[in-house]
Structures are given as C-alpha cells and as structure tokens.
C-alpha cells in the first residue's frame, strides 16, 4: 500500500474545502523558473505549495520553487522566519503542513536509500561524537555513507590535519564546524542543504567553504543555503528565497 495518498487526506488550516484534494498541484508547476522543464529523473529539487505552521502561527505558505543541476538557492530571513524549518523539510527530516518536496520526482520522505544518499544536510549541530577523534568521526561517516576514501586532503584544506587524532571534545567551535564541513565534502552528495554553515568560521574558513560551493555547483551539484550573509555565496542565476 503506497503512502502517497496521504497528501489528499491532510486537511488544511487554510482551506475551507472539506476535502483537501491537492493531487493536481503536485507535478504541475505554474511558475517554472527559466529554462527548466525538469525531467523526473534529473537531479532536481522541487517544492510545491509548501506551507509550515508552528501551532497557530504561519511561518510561510504557498512556497513554490524548482532547483536544477548547478543551481544555488539562498534562504534569507530574520531569526525565527522558518529557514531551519524549511531546510529540515527539504531534507525530509520534517513534514510540511501542506505541500510536497520532491527529489528526482519522488517525495523526499519516500526516497530509496541510494537516492537519499545524494542529499547531504548540515544543520546547527555538527554531528561529531565528542568521545571519538576527528579521524574516527570521519571514517564512521564514510562507512555509513558507503563512500570510504582518504580524507587527508580535505583535512589539509581545512587546516585540520594536525587535529585528526584529537578527540572532538577538545576542538574549538570553529574547528568543530570545519570538521562537519569535511564530512559534507566527503559525502559526495549531489544536493547540499546547509543551515548557516558559516557560523563560527573565520574568514579563511568561509573562503574555503565558498570555494567548495562554487566547485560543487560547477560539477552540476545543487545547494540550498540558509544564511544571513547571502553575498558570500551569491552568484548569477541563484534563487533568492526570502522568508
């Protein structure tokens, strides 16, 4: 029994319509951006009529966007405007109150493990085990993602080489953030979802990250970045989503 029907049955806070049948909206896109009539199988992230409510408060509604290969989306908005909520919804960690997010045409909550591996999410928490060394953390991550590879190069780029065998609990906040970015880079995901990735990073670290993002996009990757400094990443053709 597929769970796809669930969209029809979620009743909404915004509609009077007793039967919230919104099937017709999924897959149909009135505001397609630019060149794209995106194929279902193409690595593309689509948001359809997204709405999120916190209790009786509306964070956003009727959010609609398409993101194709090589494209960047920047999420901007004041504190509490729903940037993190939206990113978690895009990652499949949260459910939108209404609407659907698809990756390659499949709802993000229902992706097969392989397709899920194409998406990397980095939130406020670094996901480092404090009792393990940086190297142990990285190799655990690689093992779970099935992408074991040498990480010395990445660590060197982040100036973490000397710390590889230090337990994560002794790292500074900025160093922890760098280690988290190393995991992102090593994940080799197609879609990067980053929640304020520059927090705690010094100027040099931000430079490395910005360079990585540019390289990622050049290679046909996608990225959605929630940030208060969109200028650091902004590029021609990027989507600006203002919450």
């Amino acid at each position: 029994m597929p769970l796809k029907m669930r969209l029809d049955l979620c009743y909404s806070k915004t509609k009077v319509n007793p039967i919230g049948c919104k099937n017709d909206r999924v897959g149909h896109n009135p505001r397609s951006t630019g060149a794209s009539l995106l194929l279902m199988t193409e690595p593309a992230l689509c948001g359809r009529e997204l709405a999120a409510w916190r209790g009786d408060r509306c964070l956003f509604e009727r959010l609609h966007f398409d993101l194709g290969p090589g494209q960047l989306a920047l999420l901007v908005g004041s504190n509490g405007s729903g940037k993190t909520t939206l990113l978690r919804i895009l990652a499949g960690l949260g459910l939108p109150t209404e609407g659907a997010v698809t990756w390659r045409g499949v709802a993000v909550g229902e992706l097969a493990p392989d397709e899920r591996g194409e998406i990397a999410y980095r939130g406020h928490l670094e996901a480092l085990k404090r009792d393990l060394t940086v190297a142990e953390n990285l190799s655990f991550h690689a093992a779970v993602w099935g992408r074991s590879q040498p990480f010395e190069g990445v660590l060197a780029e982040l100036k973490l080489s000397g710390l590889a065998h230090m337990r994560a609990r002794y790292l500074s906040a900025g160093q922890r953030r760098r280690a988290a970015l190393a995991m992102l880079k090593l994940s080799r995901a197609k879609l990067w979802l980053l929640d304020e990735p520059t927090t705690n990073l010094d100027r040099e670290g931000r430079g490395v990250l910005a360079e990585w993002v540019r390289g990622h996009l050049r290679d046909g990757g996608l990225a959605v970045i929630a940030t208060h400094q969109p200028d650091e990443f902004a590029a021609r053709g990027a989507l600006m989503i203002e919450l």
């Binding site: 999410y121 928490l125 996901a127 480092l128 404090r130 393990l132």
Partner: protein
C-alpha cells in the same frame, strides 16, 4: 551490513570511552537487591521464596536505567538526524545501537544476577536455568526499553516517563522468567516458559526495530 557494523563499533567505542557510566546500572542493581532483605527482615527460607522475584524486578529496573539514554546523546549532538538521512535503513541502525548498548550494559548485569542469586540461597542447580532465562529475556527487554527511549527522545525530561510506558509491557517477561526459575528450583521441566521467552524475543527483535525507527523519526521531526 557495513553500516550495521560501523554503528555497532562506534557505539561500543563511545561506551568504553565513557566506561564509568557503564557501572551505574550495576551499582543500582546491587543497591536494590540489598535493600529488599533490609525491608523484609527475612529468614533464609523466606529469602529463597521472594529472591527470584526480587532479582527479576531489580533486573528490569536496572535495564531501564541503563538504556534510557540510548538515543538522547545522539539526538543532542546531531548524529541521530544524520543517521536518519544516511542511505541505510533506519531499522538497521536502530538494531545496531540496541545491540551495542545491550552488550555493554545488560551483559554485565546478567553476569551479576546469578551471583546475587547465591546470596538469596537459591540452589546452585537452578542457576543455569536462571541465566538462560535472563539471556532469552534480554533481547525483548532491550527492545522494549529502547522503544521507551525512542518515544521520549525529544523530551527534555523523558526519563521519568519511560518506566511508565515500558514496565506494563514487561509483564509477560516477568511471568515467564520467574516461572522458569521457580520450576527449576523445584526440579521440574522448564522448557515451556523458556520457549515462550524465546518466542517473545523473536517477536520483539523482528518487529521492534520498525517501531523504534518510526518513533525516532517522529521524535526528531
């Protein structure tokens, strides 16, 4: 399977690096077992009669203590949400975590129980059955407690509620476990309760991970 091993090894490693915490449930168990004779002011015969029940109840309570934080630390540092997003079925991850924690917390506890049984004058001949019953009950017990931990993963103070959720479900374990030990003390055949314990274990291990994974997923939403 690689991912299963990776999670298992990682959790074991983390547990051993915080080894002092591993001792808490054991100490708790010893204290509970010591308190009962104090409360009962017993004779040797009386002790033997209540001993089996006391040991089983103390084991249930200690395992509750041991597995309560199973998902909490991973949720706090963000690694749980990364595991949810990883290209690995969450049931597998959950199972690995439960196995790891049961190994480091329940196993020492199970070694302690037969020792304490001697102090309750439970005959030596009954100890193998007691140990076997405990081993057969351990999977079900870990799955149940892990489920409680998963249901409360997003609650700041989930600890007090876990017992409320889990302990009523452990009724059958307690019944079959104590019955098996009782029967063997009286020198009667113990196959029936032991088989029922294994049936429960199979049921718990095959269905439990799905419920636990679902609970973790909803908890992090």
């Amino acid at each position: 399977m690689n991912a299963f091993n990776a999670v298992l090894l990682r959790d074991l490693r983390v547990a051993f690096r915080r080894w002092s915490e591993l001792a808490h449930p054991l100490i708790f168990f010893v204290i509970v077992v010591t308190l009962f004779p104090l409360a009962l002011s017993p004779t040797a015969a009386q002790l033997r009669e209540v001993g089996i029940g006391v040991l089983w109840v103390a084991t249930l309570l200690s395992s509750l203590l041991a597995l309560d934080g199973l998902f909490r630390s991973d949720a706090d540092d963000g690694s749980l949400e990364q595991l949810l997003l990883a290209p690995v079925p969450m049931t597998m991850t959950v199972l690995a975590k439960v196995v790891a924690h049961a190994t480091v917390t329940l196993l020492p506890l199970l070694c302690l129980v037969p020792l304490s049984a001697l102090s309750f004058n439970i005959p030596l001949a009954a100890l193998p059955t007691l140990a076997l019953a405990l081993v057969l009950a351990a999977p079900t017990l870990s799955v149940l407690v892990a489920l409680g931990a998963a249901l409360t993963v997003s609650l700041r103070r989930g600890g007090s509620i876990v017992g409320l959720l889990v302990l009523p479900l452990t009724g059958p374990l307690l019944i079959f476990g104590t019955r098996a030990t009782d029967l063997s003390v009286n020198g009667e055949p113990t196959a029936a309760p032991l088989l029922l314990l294994s049936a429960l274990a199979v049921l718990a291990v095959s269905l439990g991970p799905f419920a636990i994974a679902a609970a973790v997923k909803v908890g992090l939403e």
